[in-house]
Symmetry: C2
Subunit: 404 residues, 2 copies
């Protein structure tokens, strides 16, 4: 009998009716002959209400106590889901993160899973129970409650799938799977049947926010095959797994877009060792995440160092860099928002040339100017005007024959 | 430095403003030079909302899962209270029942405390923290979440006070303490400065619902002195402790009333061994709690067996007894609601005669008929018409000189 780990997000368990719906899906999976572990999130809206309550009690709630508070959200869902399944005549038990054996480090609100010993969980499975596990939470060795941060429930599901050696892990969400591009932008985009871990990682970091990168990284590390699919219909989703030979035949798997970007250039900085280090140390010290970094060859002993980041962080980065520009002896700082990132992704790219050329040609034909270029082994990304991103995505998607 | 355990009920922590108020009280206690453990309940209304959610997911929620669900109520409050204290510049940590070392038996929704090893709690106290503990909940040896049933948070506070050898346990509630009678019924009723465990037990079982009997019994068993007082003002409350010589000088401590009672009589049952046993076995089998039982001497080989109970249970008890009346050969079943119980309570009664006489005389003067009488070592209780209970309470209260 195979073992399936399923994960249902906050929207899927948003109210009692939806919880009963999830209960029926879980039972259907069991009736197909599988043993089932279901990881559930807090009901949508609950976490926000708890955060509001916390703010009313303290202007700066302690992270240790935030974790104690937020963990109640998933604890509520596991109990309700187990009840719903029991009411339908099947055996189910709920398990908190701690009870499921999820041991984390002590970094409250964004803990990392340090160990997973699902002793009780395995016992319940052996006794014929469906196990409903609280996502997003764990416990330190010395019994403090912790939470795993954004995307934590996906991580719980994948970690449990690894620990119990599940045959499949299904991530139920509010989209049908991973698409060749965002269907709201590119109407011809189609759902992918499969995608490699690396492609999924690039898609995630390039703006396709189906899942957080850390969950995909964890799955890749422990070889956990998972499927992303919708909890609102019966359509098969997208299988994410280690790349295969057949996958490499497809040069480009998908097109990813990321809006709300900004570009900053440290102009005509002296081209000597240590300049870039000073710039990016100052950014890191200010706690700002940046994305692409581009530096080209120098002219007359100076060079331009450019990078992109979320436009929300622009004011912060300008403040952080003002003194650095002076101290490194650069001429000035230029910044611009209103830009977007367009990436093509595919493991097949490694062994096929001409991807960049085809992408640039498609954009050029559409009269779209490329402002920056950055590449990795399986990705080619460009920065264009935000106003042109939809048109750009469509022509590139078309150029690689990704549409329906 | 003395150690105080405090308990705040659901009304006292009903919203963020009230939680901050509780935080200030806890800090004030610490600033008076005490170490503090505060046990808190779920915010008022939260438990009811959770029960409603459960009912929407299952017509008959499993008790194991109800406990997982309801335990989130107190877990929310401990986090918020600890945050509020931290925001006021003091060190506080929250502890769930399990973290506080409360080990219970496995009887879900009404578990009994089996063991209490507050290792972590003591460590935090030694490190200078105020400890905020979730009331009402515990954990079995094999790590299942349990709840303690009605009055569970009081029990948590008293059990912790016993385990950490606290100097005092304060039960904060929405009344000022224990009164000589319900002030809404007897306007001259006054707050008692002290009362013995046994008197408190009789008061509780006679309708003065300040606390559940089980918490008082636990306190008596482990010699935990506690104070019942209001969380909404600074007035001293009522100290509950082992009786002293001086307490015995007071013949009657208070008058307790209980409305909504009903009386049932099995009429002219054969006066032979086994009749009463059959009657009360049938009642017990139907899960009905009864209060007073009275059987007087027999006439012509038959006797009347009467008992009182909550009038809500009347229909149930009539159904349960119908076959029994036949099988024991009694003439019939008479029942009546619209009655109430009036009790006078005091440890001094043991060594003073004339209490019953004085009580009956006071009632007689007021023209109030006594329908049943029952006595214990420290209590004399009578059943009267419910319409007369307020008048009866006032004249008896007056007769024993209990008023202001």
């Amino acid at each position: 009998m195979s073992l399936i780990v399923q994960k249902y997000g906050g929207t899927s368990v948003g109210n009692p009716e939806r919880i009963k719906n999830v209960a029926r899906r879980i039972i259907a999976t069991q009736e197909e002959g599988h043993r089932v572990v279901a990881v559930v999130s807090a009901m949508s809206g609950v976490t926000d209400s708890l955060i509001k309550l916390a703010r009313e009690c303290s202007p700066a709630p302690e992270e240790r106590e935030m974790d104690v508070l937020l963990a109640t959200g998933e604890q509520t869902t596991i109990a309700l889901t187990a009840m719903a399944i029991n009411a339908m005549g099947k055996k189910a038990v709920s398990l908190t993160g701690a009870q499921a054996g999820i041991v984390t480090d002590g970094v409250h609100t964004k803990a990392k899973i340090a160990d997973l010993t699902p002793k009780q969980l395995k016992q319940y499975l052996d006794d014929g129970y469906i196990c409903i596990v609280a996502g997003f939470q764990g416990q330190t060795k010395d019994h403090r409650i912790t939470t795993l941060g954004r995307g934590g429930s996906d991580l719980t599901a994948i970690a449990i799938a690894a620990a119990v050696k599940a045959d499949l892990c299904q991530i139920f969400t509010d989209v049908d799977g991973v698409y060749t591009c965002d269907p709201r932008v590119v109407p011809t985009a189609k759902k992918l049947d499969e995608i490699s871990f690396d492609e999924m990682l690039e898609m995630a970091s390039s703006g396709s926010k189906v899942m957080q990168s850390r969950s995909v990284e964890f799955a890749k590390k422990f070889g956990v095959v998972f499927e992303v699919r919708s909890s609102f219909n019966q359509n098969p989703g997208t299988i994410v797994k280690e790349e295969t030979k057949s996958m490499e035949a497809v040069v480009v798997r998908g097109v990813s877009i990321e809006k709300n970007q900004a570009k900053v250039t440290v102009c005509r900085a002296p081209d000597r060792p240590g300049t870039a280090a000073q710039v990016f140390s100052a950014i890191a010290a200010a706690g700002i995440s940046i994305d692409m970094i581009v530096q080209n060859v120098s002219h007359e002993g100076t060079t331009d160092i450019s990078f992109t980041l979320s436009k929300d962080e622009l004011a912060k980065v300008e403040a952080a860099l003002a003194p650095v520009v002076k101290s490194v002896g650069a001429v000035g700082l230029e910044s611009r928002s209103g830009i977007a990132k367009l990436s093509v992704i595919g493991v097949g790219m490694k062994s096929h040339s001409g991807v960049a050329a085809k992408m640039f040609e498609a954009l050029s034909k559409a009269g779209i100017n490329i402002q920056m270029i950055s590449t990795s082994e399986i990705k080619t990304a460009v920065i264009v005007d935000e106003a042109k991103i939809a048109e750009g995505a469509n022509v590139v998607h078309e150029a690689f024959g990704l549409g329906k």
